[in-house]
Structures are given as C-alpha cells and as structure tokens.
Symmetry: C2
Subunit: 393 residues, 2 copies
C-alpha cells in the first residue's frame, strides 16, 4: 500500500457515489449542459450581494497599503470584533472578539473545534440524515460519528438523542437549517436538547458540548426565525461560514464562536486557536476577513430561493412525490418510491436529472435535491421528475 | 478535562515559548514599537510585487462576472495548468494540471499530503533543525516526527539520514532553502538522499516518499540555484506557497505537485484531493487561485533580502557571533555563547531584541533571527546584539 489505509478505504467506500457523479459530465457531453438538470451540488447559483462586490473592490485596492501578511491565528481583532458585535445584535448574547475565531469556512471551523475537543474513541452524535462530511471530520481527529434518527418530518427526536448519548459522547453536532432536509429546529426542541446535555454532562461528570453548524441561518422561509443555540445551553459552539449568506463558498471564510458563558471558555478558545494553526489553516484568508467585515449583515436575495422552493415543491407535489416542505436552506429531501434510493436515482438520470441518494446522508429511501439552480432548470426538469416516478410506481 | 488531552499537552508544552513571545508586546508597550527589534516572526516585510496588486484588482473586478462558487477540490483546472506549465519551465519536468493540487498555503499542502500517506505509527523523518510545525503536522495524522542531525554548516548529512530511516519511515521531509538555517541543499546531496530512499524502499519493500517544503525557493542569494527535487528521486512531492514569493502569507495560497514519474501517482493524487476536501480546506481560496495564475512568475524584489542579509551578517560578524551565512530564505541561525539558548534569548530581550531560541527548532545552542525586517530595525539592533554577546562572554 503506498497511501494511508484509512484514506484508501475512504476512497473505495465513496467510489460508488463518485461513479454516480461521473454520470453528470457524461450526460452533459451527450445532451449539452443546458439539457441536464444537475441538482447534485449545493453550489449556490445566486450572485453575491452588491455590498460584497463593493467591499471586495475596496479591500483589494486598500491592500496595496495594508499588505497581505499573516494575521493572528484567530483572525484580525477588528474583524472578530465586527463579527462579535453582529452576533450580539442578532442573537442577544455578549460575545467579544475573544470568543470569535475566523476560519476557513464552516468546514474549517468544525475541524478545528473537533480537533480541540476529541480524544481517541470519543463519540460525536448527530441526528440523521446528516451532511456526509461529518463522519470524516470526526474521524480526522480520532473520533467516531454516531447518529440518532429524527422524526418523520425531520424535526429533532429528543428521546432518540437521549438513548444515543453515552459516556463517550464528547459533542452533539446539529445543523439547522438542515442539509439535506431543509428542516429548522424549533427553540423548544433545542432547549430540550440543551437540558438533556446538561443532565447527561452531570451524569457522566464531564462537559458534553453542543456544536451547531449554521451556514444556512440566513436562508429561512415564511418569516421563520432560526433560534439561537447559545440561549438553549451554555456549553455551545457555533461554526458557520459566509458561503451561503454571501454566495462565496469558494473563498473559504467563516467563523467559530464559543458561548461567552461556556465553563472552560478560555481553555477551549486557546485550543481552537492552536488547532487552527497546526491543522495548516494558519489563519482564515486575510482579504476575505476584511471583505466580510466590510459587508457585514449583507445577504443574498433569499426571496429568490423562496421562489425556487415554490417551483420545485409545487412541481413535485403535482407529480405525486412525498416530502416535507423545507423551512430553510436550499434542499429538498423527498422519499423515493422504493427503499432502493440508488435505483431511483438511476431512473432519474435517465431523465437527465442528477440528485444524490439518501444513503449518502445516512438515510436510504430518500434523495436530495439541491434547488440552488436557475428557475428554468427547475421548470424544465419537472416532466422528467413526473415521468420517473410514474414509471417506478 | 474539557478539551482533547493531546491538544492540552501541546498547549502546555508550548507555553514556555508563548510566555517568551508575550515579552514582545510588553516591551513594545514599555519602550514603543519602534524601539523594539522584533526578529521573532517570519512575516515578510516586503510589499507584494506590482504584478500581484494588478492581478488582484483585475480578478476582484472580474469576479462580479465569474462569481465565488466552490472550485473543484483540487483547484480550477486552468490555474493548475498555469502552475504546471510554470513548474515545467522552471524545473524541466512534464507535469500537467493532473499532478497539481491548489492548497491553502504550504501548511495546507503538507497536511493533505501527510494525511494521504500516513498510517498510525508511521514515521516522518526530517533533518534537524527543522520548522517546529512539522511535529504537529505528522502527529495530526497519526504519524511521528523523527529527526536526524545535519552537518555543522547545516548541509545534509546523508549518513545520519541513512541511520535514521527505519521500516516505519513513510516519508522524508526536507525544506530548502531552510527555515531556520537559510541553508540550500545541493543537487549532489539531494541526489544522494534520493539514492538512499530508493535503496531503503527496495530493502523494506515499500515506497518511501520524499516530501519537499519549498516556500523559500525564490529567495536564494549570490546566484545560487535551488535544485529541483523532482530530478533527484521519482517518489517526490513538492509542497509550497506563494507566501514568500509574493509576500502574501495571510492569503493562504499554495500548491502540492506530485512527480509525474511517481509509481502510484494517480492513487496518491486521488487521496490528496480527498484529504484536501475532508480536512476542511475544501478548495484553496478561489480568488487567490485566480490572482496567482494571473501573476505567475512574479516575485518580490529578492535583492532587498540580500541587502538585509549583508546588514545582519556583517553586523553580527563584527560583534563576534559565529554563524553560517545563509544561502537563501530570510533567516540566520547563529550559535549562542552558551548551551542555554533560552538564557541568551532573555539576555537579548534586555536589549529589546526578540528572537527565537534554537530549541524551538530541535537544536539548542542557537537562536533564529528572521531578518525580513526593515533595514533601520536591523541597523539599530546591532549595538544591542554586540552588548548582549559581550556581557555573556
């Protein structure tokens, strides 16, 4: 073996999904990209808001003056202060720049947090379906991802979570608005989860952290407010990015914020600052730190995602699909007409529709549609969705 | 314990050096920043070349059109192609975009490579003195850093390397021009190292990789050419960044390139593309990928570093310090007048001079000066350097 056995295994395990993704380029070459309906990737199609474009042009010009040197490992203090002020206004807490670490997106934030927390064999618990990368993130740092089911409408099942917490649980990881379901967890359910973790922490004589991955916080529909996790439990850490708020996922900029009330706050922040350094991130990209501080509060036009949600939901409902209408994010997670989600995904490919099977998120019998696509693609795909379901039934 | 034991230990182990660095801000508050001679950090003081500023302004303006979406995990194909073409011209190999992965700096490149290579307990061997982060990078992925001494003039000691290679050695990691010594390894010594690894690979029935960390390649003095590692051994990987060429370390942009002749090239590149994704880098910052492609070949004015080298070397020579004149990079690694390098570093602090003790690089009895500072700082520090040495003798 010339490479790491673990990585080799991971590459092999994911080869089926890679093969599935390889269908996309083949279909596009055969029929033309405009005739393939690719809903497989959560790469937002909206342009960044005007504020971000202006901010980037400004910081690019100003950088001739301020340069591009290393920033502190946790990020520029003035940027962290701007982020903390914004979180305080949004979520009613009292964070300072000392609780905020600028990161290489939410993926970076999650990795530095888990590396700071996990000892070998520690468990990270998350509700399933879940973003498939979480398994790797836990494994990267010697941990093991465990899952607990959610309710039929994809809301939190606190009893199932309670059963799944063990003495090895170091952190519970939630993601709301959720990828792949679009569900938003209620304040009540998060409060119950916080209470559960408080009890379990006492029971096991340790701190069980609640880690919240929130890149879709700004994308919520019908006036729904995404509750603040900080108010539900004090041992909380938020990991997030500007990837979706500002439609800039390729720029890798986000942050982690530790609850100012967390018991071992200073120790934890010291550890995360170190893991940000030693994992090779070193610091979040400097010019993007400045650009997001300069455009703080700006968001893409969420009404456009709301419109896409209506288009896809109405179309699939009419075609006879069963699903829970998403409250946020830009994903839909319908049931497949068979338990064999891969078979149905292949049937959709015959209609030149690309989606991801539910087993990619730990939940077979479903498939994920990323509807962050232009409206014409959504509209033109609907006959194919209808045909595939009809033929399968 | 609320955080990872390993990270807690690492934080504690490095607390002495942190305390030492805390002296800096204290001294600056007391005497004014302009009266403190801070040579402790390799944060280059030169401004990026004009080409980079122009490129950044251009890509920032163009980005309104092309957006900021995720790039492929290995980077934009056109950027990788531009990088491969440049490497080919510079080093006379035949790389294509398929052998290049754009990364979050050299630190990112080293981490994704080591994660792709290492199984638990695998050894990474490097000559000492060495960049202290290497120990963390190996440990991050279950490996162990081993060291072998260099010769008195900091050139490679192939016999010492030969003794240190074991059946557990998965990779040898070299860094030339070197941090902290400024030494540049000769083509002859790298050829001998390649031959050694070829023999040892045969002996142990495995591939031992040679990983070369080259962020200082462009900073070489007196017309010295930094040899290409690719020609010395076929199982080679180069990790580097634009941090020093372009003076943009805060932007986190670099690349890894696998030797096109490497035996398990495709497997290795597949693994590294995956580790770039799952470690949370996802892709190198998009706009910086474009900016470096747009300014490829541009370099800071290296003659300015050469001037600084003369200033510091002449000054310290006159004061009676013993050192090997650096052939590249912007570091000097003089001997301390006592084995207790920390004591001498404290003596320098009394002269308001900040440097790093040699034990921070696995080699006590020395100290590191990062001379990427303005010329006035260097000149004004010289009396203090002279006084500290005189008082110690």
């Amino acid at each position: 073996m010339s490479i790491s056995k673990l990585i080799q295994e991971s590459v092999e395990k994911s080869s089926w999904i890679r093969k599935m993704f390889e269908e996309g380029p083949k279909l596009k070459a055969q029929y033309g990209a405009e005739n393939v309906y690719d809903f497989s990737l959560g790469n937002p199609n909206l342009q960044p808001p005007e504020e971000f474009h202006k901010a980037l042009a400004k910081v690019a010009a100003d950088s001739v003056e301020f340069g591009h040197g290393y920033t502190p490992n946790s990020g520029y203090p003035f940027v962290r202060k701007a982020v903390a002020d914004y979180i305080n206004e949004e979520q009613g807490i009292n964070a300072t720049e000392n609780e905020v670490i600028m990161t290489c997106g939410a993926a970076g934030a999650l990795n530095i947090t888990l590396k700071a927390l996990l000892d070998p064999g520690d468990e990270v618990l998350c509700p399933a379906p879940y973003f498939v990368e979480y398994g790797f993130y836990a494994q990267n740092h010697g941990g093991v991802l465990k899952t607990a089911p959610v309710k039929d409408d994809f809301t939190l099942d606190i009893d199932a979570m309670a059963e799944a917490v063990t003495e090895k649980t170091k952190a519970v990881l939630v993601n709301s608005p959720n990828n792949p379901t679009g569900q938003v967890y209620s304040e009540e359910s998060l409060g119950a989860l916080g209470k559960l973790l408080e009890d379990k922490s006492k029971q096991y004589g340790k701190v069980i952290y609640l880690l919240s991955d929130e890149p879709y916080r700004k994308i919520a529909f019908d006036g729904i407010e995404v509750p603040s996790i900080f108010k539900c439990y004090k041992e909380t850490i938020v990991a997030t990015s500007y990837s979706k708020d500002l439609s800039i996922p390729g720029e890798r900029i986000g942050w982690a914020c530790v609850n100012p009330e967390a018991t071992y706050k200073d120790q934890l922040i010291g550890a995360m600052t170190m893991t940000n350094r030693i994992l090779g991130f070193v610091n979040a990209p400097g010019i993007m730190q400045r650009a997001v501080a300069e455009s703080i509060g700006a968001t893409v036009d969420v009404s456009q995602y709301a419109e896409k949600r209506e288009l896809i939901c109405n179309g699939l409902k009419e075609a006879g699909y069963t699903f829970t209408k998403p409250a946020g994010a830009f994903y839909l997670f319908p049931k497949t007409p068979t338990e064999d989600d891969v078979a149905f995904v292949r049937a959709l490919q015959k209609e030149r529709i690309l989606v991801v099977p539910g087993r990619g998120f730990g939940t077979p019998g479903h498939f994920r549609i990323a509807f962050c696509m232009d409206n014409a693609t959504i509209k033109n795909s609907l006959p194919g969705f209808a045909k595939a379901l009809k033929e399968f039934k």
